[in-house]
Symmetry: C2
Subunit: 122 residues, 2 copies
């Protein structure tokens, strides 16, 4: 665990927005100005692989990274791309296990709902 990796992990764990790699890079440079973008990408990838953070893959957007708290899903606005959490109480994890009759390694559920801001603009 290097200083860089720890910093990146801290940034994700203390953020409530769903940061892109670029966003993490911007944050990281505030405390470690010489950190490189490659290092950010590499560590985000490693942390996601070890299940310490979560990668969210979206249409037409760079990947987002999120804290890894148990089974919460996401709502994304198809217009502006904003991402919101669905609270864990409403998690689909149990339903998926029950229907498939097995526990998946993991899953990603992205519900698309136009957000209020975008609704107003129309």
């Amino acid at each position: 665990m290097t200083r860089q990796r720890q910093l990146i992990l801290d940034i994700i764990n203390s953020s409530y927005s769903h940061l892109t790699a670029e966003g993490v890079y911007t944050e990281a440079r505030k405390t470690m100005p010489k950190i490189s973008l490659g290092t950010v990408y590499r560590n985000l990838g490693l942390l996601a692989q070890n299940g310490e953070i979560r990668r969210i893959v979206l249409e037409n957007q760079p990947d987002r990274f999120d804290r890894c708290f148990p089974g919460h899903d996401h709502i994304v606005c198809p217009d502006c791309g904003a991402v919101r959490d669905i609270p864990p109480e409403l998690s689909m994890a149990r339903t998926i296990e029950r229907k498939l009759k097995m526990k998946p390694d993991s899953y990603e559920l992205t519900v698309k709902i136009v957000c209020d801001e975008c609704k107003d603009k129309k």
Copy 2:
């Protein structure tokens, strides 16, 4: 509806694999050798926007395109990236509506399960 767009739609609708844009391009050239890759991308995007086909966004892979039959979800192998359909009977659509107390514009559920071939290799 141009000949090119119709061809692309036909290819998706008659395929049971989950083709990438490149895959559609390869298929399309068999009947229309001069079709360009840009045309394939443009039309896949348009068709997906109109809800005539479905775009599947996956980690570390080019997007896949699928026939648009009602509410079926996907299982993807995190090792080899193979995609399989979950039959519509097991669709999560109703559960999502019930839990969120609203009908989303759409949703994507990707369940990650290591496929048998990859399991054997270990």
